[in-house]
């Protein structure tokens, strides 16, 4: 099964730790985490995202397009990146979520990816 592993974190917290530790030290656990996933053959994709204030939200109502500056949901913790996991089931996905560096200070949401072939 495939899961979208979404990483929610407080951007202020992230910026602080980059400033305190330096970018490379901040990134080290992320690199290790990604490498571990790749080695285990469970990583089907993933990316880090730019800060939430760079987001653009688009909707169309009655044929009229609205473009808004910022994310759709304004939350204390924002989606900062994601992975696509390919694992046998939820228990394995939970294991990977638990290992994610942001699990210790943010939240990780797992969503099964719909398989239309099934």
């Amino acid at each position: 099964m495939q899961y979208l592993l979404m990483i929610f974190e407080d951007e202020a917290h992230m910026q602080r730790s980059v400033e305190e530790k330096g970018f490379e030290a901040y990134m080290a656990p992320w690199m290790a985490y990604t490498e571990e996933m790749e080695k285990a053959g469970v990583m089907a994709g993933g990316n880090a995202l730019e800060m939430a204030h760079t987001a653009t939200t688009v909707s169309v109502r009655d044929g009229k397009r609205t473009i808004q500056d910022g994310p759709f949901l304004d939350m204390k913790e924002q989606l900062g990146g994601y992975y696509v996991l390919d694992v046998p089931g939820l228990d394995e996905a939970i294991k990977w979520a638990e290992k994610c560096p942001a699990a210790k200070y943010g939240h990780i949401e797992l969503r099964p990816i719909t398989n239309f072939d099934d």
């Binding site: 099964m1 046998p88 089931g89 939820l90 228990d91 797992l110 099964p112």
Partner: protein
């Protein structure tokens, strides 16, 4: 000598339902579809057994019938051929094997799936009762004060979540097992206690506890939960009798045999030297019962057990139980300081309202006690203890 076929189907249903459901859901990963298929198989048995006689191995027959129903479903939904074939093949193999050696035991896997931490905590006991014991949504709803349709919807959603999110029908690996078993125990405990002591589902929950302790023979906590369920049933008011708190019940009517059995189970469980929450809860019940039945003064023991329980598994319920025991032991000042030190976040928790009312009565503040009891009675309306609480509130002068 003829037993009506309906009775035989009924017996096969009671005995084999969970066993078959566990196998079917494990194979398909789809609890709702497995239930439908099994239901169809039982209906088919009701049709065909009276004519053709009861098959030599009913379980194998039912499994094949359920498999046929699943295949029809696959065809309608045009499921990918590979997956369908794999499931059908496995089920055929199983039916064949079960004709020879009986069905494999997969009920534990079903329990772990239904009590998975990814399912809403409140729904876990409901799901376990519904799937493992086949208790209808309506009866479950009555105990959780939910309408039949609301409960049915909650169960459907939980089953859909299991399927869509890939919750496995599997025994967790050793590193996870303790935590996950705790969820299963907790779900059964929830079912045991929801209707007040010895509520409507207590018997089903007690059966689940005995099933679990058979499936996990070396787990002292599972054994303790079984002992606890035996205590609950042994001392509950007889059917039709109004609810009374434990200390006001007549020990004459208690089931001594069950109490002694539970005591023995508890002693055996303690040999593992792995104390746990349910061993302590059951030990408290045991000591309270000994006190009331045999007139032994076990207050020191009860209070000591409560302190250990709060230490090991802190909870609002445990603290409330401790405070209530302190008052019954005549140590009101200590009870007052325990309650004063509590976080009132749980203000709407009925047991907390009841102990606070009890303290208010002892401190000669009946007006405050009345308000607290009325609030508790309101929250417990519809449960057997609800009527008892409102009667107590009524008796207090405002």
């Amino acid at each position: 000598m003829t037993v009506p076929t309906e009775k035989l189907v009924e017996a096969a249903a009671r005995e084999g339902r969970a066993r078959l459901l566990a196998i079917l859901s494990r194979r398909t990963g789809d609890l709702a579809a497995a239930e439908d298929a099994l239901q169809a198989a039982f209906l088919k048995a009701l049709e065909s057994w009276p004519e053709l006689g009861v098959p030599r191995v009913p379980d194998a027959w039912l499994l094949t019938a359920a498999r046929n129903h699943l295949t029809d479903g696959f065809r309608k939904e045009s499921v990918r051929a590979g997956k369908e074939e794999a499931i059908v093949l496995l089920l055929d193999e199983l039916a064949e094997a079960s004709a020879k050696d009986g069905l494999p035991e997969r009920r534990l896997e079903l329990l772990y799936a239904c009590a998975h931490p990814a399912i809403d905590e409140q729904v876990r006991p409901q799901l376990v009762l519904n799937t493992v014991l086949g208790v209808p949504a309506e009866d479950i709803g009555r105990c959780w004060l939910a309408s039949k349709s609301a409960m049915a919807q909650r169960l459907v959603r939980a089953k859909a979540k299991i399927k869509a999110s890939g919750i496995p029908f599997a025994i967790p690996e050793p590193s996870e097992r303790e935590e996950r078993t705790a969820c299963v125990l907790e779900a059964i405990y929830g079912a045991l206690t929801i209707g007040g002591e010895g509520g409507a589902l207590a018997e089903e929950a007690a059966y689940l506890a005995s099933l679990l302790s058979r499936l996990l023979p070396n787990d002292p906590e599972a054994a303790a939960l079984r002992a606890l369920s035996l205590f609950v049933l042994a001392v509950r008011p007889e059917e039709g009798e109004p609810f009374r708190p434990l200390s006001e019940r007549d020990p004459e009517g208690w089931n001594s045999e069950a109490i002694n059995l539970a005591d023995n189970i508890l002693v055996n469980a303690a040999r593992a030297r792995k104390p746990g929450r349910f061993q302590l809860e059951a030990a408290i019940s045991s000591a309270r019962i000994a006190q009331l039945r045999d007139g032994r003064d076990t207050w020191e023991q009860v209070l000591h057990l409560y302190r250990r329980l709060i230490d090991l598994a802190p909870s609002l319920a445990a603290t409330c139980g401790y405070a209530a025991a302190l008052m019954e032991a005549g140590r009101n000042d200590e009870a007052a300081s325990v309650l004063a030190g509590m976080d009132l976040d749980g203000e709407d928790f009925p047991p907390l309202l009841v102990v606070r009312a009890e303290l208010a009565i002892r401190q000669r503040e009946p007006r405050q006690a009345k308000v607290l009891l009325e609030k508790a009675a309101h929250l417990r309306a519809g449960h057997p203890d609800g009527a008892h609480l409102s009667a107590r509130a009524r008796d207090l002068q405002s």
